[in-house]
Amino acid sequence: MNKTSPTLLAVMVIVVAALAAFPFVGEKFYVQLVSKVMIMAIFAMSLDLLVGFAGLVSLGHAAFFGLAGYVAALMSPQYEAGNFWTTLPAAMAACAAFALITGFLVLRTSGIYFIMVTLAFAQMLFFIFHDTALGGGSDGIYIYVKPEMMLGDIKLLDLENFNVFYWLVLGCLVAVYLLLRQLLRSNFGHALIGIKTNDHRMRALGFPTFRYKLAAYVMSGALAGLAGYLAALQFGFVNPEILSWHTSGNVLMMVILGGMGTLHGAVVGAFSFILLQEVLSNQAFFGSVAKHWQLTMGLFIIAVALFLPKGLAGLFSRRGEK
């Protein structure tokens, strides 16, 4: 189970090195685009922990992504910088708490019911922020100044600098990948994969499977919160759209596109999805069809689902692992 082949490891080291070097050559627009992609990759990996490893297909993952964004926005003073060291843990803790509470209910269901209940909880949050003044209603809230990362009197990183912010996101991406990879290699991870394969047998063997799933759900929610926090900072605003089922659907498509249950597949999925979206909606390439990029994207995803059941990442491993 989940061994990394030397080829894959080499590819990863090269990709990370290339990503780290990119701000030295890329224009601002592209640096920010890749930064957005990496944030979505963290989001997709957090969902892959549920979908690909615990076998829990959630259609409400945007709830965590959006909640963390709103916590970041609500905790930031309007025209001054907030504190990175309090807003990030608060955002992730809020997501973990939301996951813990909703997890007790959603994890009692499975299959199609799990999909429906996760969706329902996300929609509840959507309407809370959309229809009440709590988070600025449908207009949302602006984050004019990014939080500061202070160590005593020293500003550790200047997050207003888009290159620095990019490297912070890259660091988070690598850290989340390594964390999840180790988690999945541990007893906990093996039990999770056992639960996905045969929950009933795991219980008969003495595993309290509910507790394992709940732990994974909380972990996944907190990491989606990290992604949502970074996204709110990068875009400089939050609105109910980040909680909508489109956001949940997009991240699920990224996981499926890249290949479930591999972690790096989620990263590949996020890159392909957003870059495809940029290309397909670009009138210079696709002219009048560009307006209907969702149609072309849909066809592409259908093709991947039909012809590459292991997703785009399956293409690499098939060649790389021979």
Binding site: S186, T197, A204, L205, G206, F207
Partner: protein, 256 residues
């Protein structure tokens, strides 16, 4: 004889209108094999499912080592020391033999929070997995993916997984079904060895195997106990002989 380690009293299970098991009582003792026989649909698997917590009984009680098991969740029952194998093979098909059995052994040392250590790095878990694999006769198949094994080998894996959880009580639901003669013989021998220090409930159709290892025997018909006693007593029971229409049973041939 000392007190039974597991005492099930008047267990009943109804599925809607169907009474699959009615008022069945069984006592299991350390050092004994208690065989349960009966035609298909007699309720033997349902009885096992109630003892293991896979199904809650409709009524009745199960006393085990100071605990009441009726209605308890299956993972708790398993952790109290009751292991089972399934009649319908129930394993992790995409995993290797070792990974199947290692996971079973892990359940006794969950180490939920030790996420920084790899699952395969725990010597005690690995050792109990290896022991169970050897005992079930699967040493040569250690690294074979379960889905690629023969039906008989998958049945052996069922037993290895049950052993790896280090149970005090073993509930074996037709462990020999689908096994070749050599493997069957091996497993019967293994059951004979395990008797020492364990209480075993053996559901089995193969009468040679039953008479080779059973200390006590319960015959079930239509969800109820027809007769229970030593193999000799049961063999001599007029009710049993009548139920099986004639004396084919007395000669040790009960393939219905």
């Amino acid at each position: 004889m000392s007190a039974p380690i597991l005492k099930a009293e008047k267990l009943t299970k109804r599925f809607g209108g169907l009474a699959a098991v009615t008022d069945v009582s069984v006592d299991l003792y350390i050092g004994q094999v208690h065989a349960v026989i009966g035609t298909n649909g007699a309720g033997k698997s349902t009885l096992t499912n109630m003892l293991s917590g896979d199904l809650p009984p409709t009524s009745g009680s199960i006393h085990y080592d100071g605990h009441e098991l009726a209605g308890m969740a299956s993972h708790k029952i398993s952790r109290l020391g009751i292991g089972r194998s399934y009649q319908k093979t129930n394993i992790f098909l995409p995993f290797t033999v070792f990974e199947n059995v290692r996971l079973a052994a892990q359940s006794r040392h969950p180490r939920f929070w030790q996420v920084w250590r790899s699952a395969t790095a725990f010597a005690d878990i690995n050792a109990s997995a290896e022991r169970a694999i050897v005992a079930a006769g699967l040493a040569a198949k250690r690294d074979t993916v379960a889905a690629n094994m023969s039906h008989g080998e998958q049945r052996q894996l069922e037993i290895a997984m049950c052993l790896a959880t280090d149970p005090k009580v073993l509930l074996l639901d037709e462990p020999l079904a689908g096994m070749g003669p050599a493997e069957s013989e091996r497993i019967v021998e293994l059951i004979g060895q395990l008797k020492d220090g364990h209480a075993i409930m053996l559901i089995e159709h193969d009468m040679d195997a039953v008479f080779a290892v059973a200390d006590r025997l319960t015959v079930m018909v239509n969800g109820a106990v027809l007769e229970t006693g030593t193999p000799e007593e049961v063999r001599a029971s007029p009710m049993v002989q009548q139920a099986y229409l004639g004396d084919s049973f007395a000669t040790g041939d009960l393939h219905v």
